[in-house]
């Protein structure tokens, strides 16, 4: 991608913020909660997709940075009295720093080795959250006190929504610019061919390290967002299930596309809520259906739902002579 984000997309960000301010006055807590949850997942998934979809690094450490973001933001607030507006950026920055430290050895690894090493890191982090009683309250879970933003208490869905909408808009806007930059193109080039990337002057290792770092930053921010509308964190929620959920959002929606990731977040976030209407006896099949959806999505939508949508749109736009018809010109030889 290149250039600047289209004005329409930037306007959509404005609309998102507007909705964040208006909806709390219109909807019951339940919808606000689901909305906040979706916005948090959006930040989390956008971050994972930078690594997975844009840079092509199959890394699983994301969930650890998310957990770190939650605990760090909450503990900075509770233990040191550092307000959210400072605490969350600090937490996210430290998450990014850990991401950088992980990336230095991890970028030497490929494919299965990278996937397993980063997964192992995530498991180790979860173990630390569960075992480090004196700081995280361990398996009892941590009750978080409500954060303050410029002296204004947040902690319920109503008050948190505008703040979360602003954070998502900022992160989304940053992503829009990021993918349209030299760095964003370097991510894609590394994903498609490290050889071509290196031969084009891209420092492959540095690019990967940056992708890890930025991705960890997003996860840290998502963790900070969690503290805005939730009041309790437990290590059990920071395990493989949440990771697979975010991964599924990306894959079903369409990895390596912002629209696809958002679509995936929306679909998989709303799906369990929509399933509430299903007959009770069928609920037990959810896990089975979840696996089936994953398999079918991978089989029939290699580019995710977004890929299907884009493909349709493109085909519509391609009424007229197909570009293959352009002939190869035969240049005259120099004498």
């Amino acid at each position: 991608m290149y250039g600047a984000p289209p004005p329409k997309q930037l306007a959509a960000l404005g609309l998102l913020v507007l909705a964040g301010f208006v909806l709390p006055h219109a909807l019951p807590d339940y919808f606000l909660y689901i909305g906040n949850l979706l916005m948090m997942y959006a930040v989390l998934a956008l971050g994972l997709d930078i690594l997975l979809g844009w840079t092509g690094q199959f890394a699983f450490a994301h969930i650890a940075f998310y957990g770190f973001g939650i605990y760090a933001t909450a503990l900075l607030n509770m233990r040191l009295g550092i307000p959210f507006v400072l605490g969350m950026p600090i937490a996210a920055a430290v998450a990014a720093l850990i991401g950088l430290l992980i990336a230095l050895p991890a970028t030497r690894l490929r494919t299965v080795y990278l996937a397993l090493a980063t997964y192992a890191f995530a498991e180790c982090a979860q173990w630390v959250f569960r075992t480090w009683d004196s700081v995280t309250r361990g398996p009892d879970g941590l009750r978080m006190s409500a954060p303050q933003i410029f002296g204004y208490m947040v902690g319920n869905d109503r008050d948190a929504m505008p703040v979360i909408a602003i954070i998502l808009a900022v992160m989304l806007g940053a992503t829009l610019y990021l993918v349209r930059s030299r760095l964003g193109r370097a991510f894609c080039a590394v994903r498609d061919s490290e050889h071509v990337a290196a031969a084009s002057g891209i420092d492959v290792k540095r690019t990967k390290v940056l992708a890890f770092t930025i991705s960890a930053f997003y996860a840290g921010v998502a963790g900070g967002v969690y503290t805005l509308f939730q009041s309790f964190v437990h290590p059990d929620g920071l395990g493989v299930w949440t990771l697979v959920l975010v991964l599924t959002m990306i894959v079903v929606g369409g990895s390596g596309t912002i629209g696809g990731v958002l679509l995936g977040v929306l679909l998989l976030g709303v799906l369990p809520e929509a399933l509430r209407a299903a007959p009770r006896g069928l609920l037990v099949w959810q896990e089975f259906a979840y696996g089936l959806i994953l398999i079918l999505a991978i089989m029939f939508m290699p580019r995710g739902l977004w890929g299907l949508v884009i493909y349709r749109l493109r085909r519509k736009a391609r009424r007229g002579p197909p570009p293959q018809a352009v002939p190869v010109p035969a240049l005259e030889r120099e004498p």
Binding site: L178, C188, D192, A198, A199, A330
Partner: protein, 256 residues
């Protein structure tokens, strides 16, 4: 005699296999230098050593009297050496224009990625304009927004060349640019190469099996066989060299 590019005594082993054995060659500025040899002779290894994808056990490589082996892979293009790839190694999921923008990396300012603003907008605009110009030159402008992976084989090769050209190289390493192309496309490549060397003064090292192309464009030919230099000279001399004909050209000479 001004050698722009020189390999001196390069030996490269992979496990027990010696891909290059004390191989030396000199390339003169502004020339088109072909590197030929049977499959597995080590031609691509030469390029991979220059690209810094592998590290020779011994020997040195100089570009403009500067030792290359001390540089990391991504610095090579900044020094003025660009390359294409033999197998179509493509940025499959990037569009044609984006691919050329990637080629422009070494010449795009490293503005802060997240910062919207006038500097960034100007830099992006300039890069896109330049990329479009390169696409026009290589007759790919009609495919500007097509995914590279969706191009036909010939145009993928062209795109690879366009990407390499985007860095404004002084030395261009082309790995089988004509392999698998139809005659009509080969003559197009032919014309582009000659144009690049004569008009823009780009030095070209060409690995190629299509003798028709080699013989028509090369100023000088080096023949590699099993990692060692077999012969070197003008195309006509190589063609006449009995050793070369025996070792390599053999049956193919008849076709050429």
């Amino acid at each position: 005699m001004s050698a722009l590019f020189e390999l001196r005594d390069v030996t490269m082993r992979f496990g027990g296999l010696t891909a290059l054995n004390r191989f030396s060659m000199q390339v003169e500025a502004g020339s088109i230098h072909a590197l030929i040899g049977p499959n597995g002779a080590g031609k691509s290894t030469v390029f991979n050593c220059v690209s810094r994808f592998c590290m020779p056990q011994r020997g040195e490589i100089f570009f403009d009297s500067r030792p290359l082996l001390a540089e990391p892979a991504h610095r090579i293009v900044q020094l003025g050496i660009a390359r294409t790839f033999q197998n179509i190694e493509q940025l499959h999921r990037m569009t044609v224009l984006e691919t050329v923008l990637v080629g422009l990396t070494s010449r795009t300012p490293r503005y802060f990625s997240f910062a919207p603003g006038a500097t960034r907008a100007r830099a992006e605009r300039r890069a896109v304009e330049e990329a479009e110009e390169i696409l026009s030159q290589t007759a790919l402008i009609g495919f500007r927004d097509t995914l590279a992976g969706e191009l036909d084989f010939g145009r993928q090769k062209l795109l690879d060349l366009a990407r390499a050209l985007a860095s404004r190289p002084r030395l261009l390493l082309l790995d089988e640019p004509a392999a698998g192309l139809r005659n009509r496309e080969i003559s197009f490549v032919d014309s582009i190469l000659v144009n690049l060397a004569r008009e823009r003064g780009i030095t070209i090292v060409l690995v190629e099996h299509v003798m028709q192309l080699v013989m028509s464009v090369a100023d000088r030919v080096t023949v590699l066989s099993f990692g060692e230099k077999l012969a070197e000279g003008a195309p006509s001399a190589i063609r006449a060299d009995s050793k070369v004909v025996e070792a390599y050209l053999g049956s193919e000479a008849a076709h050429a």
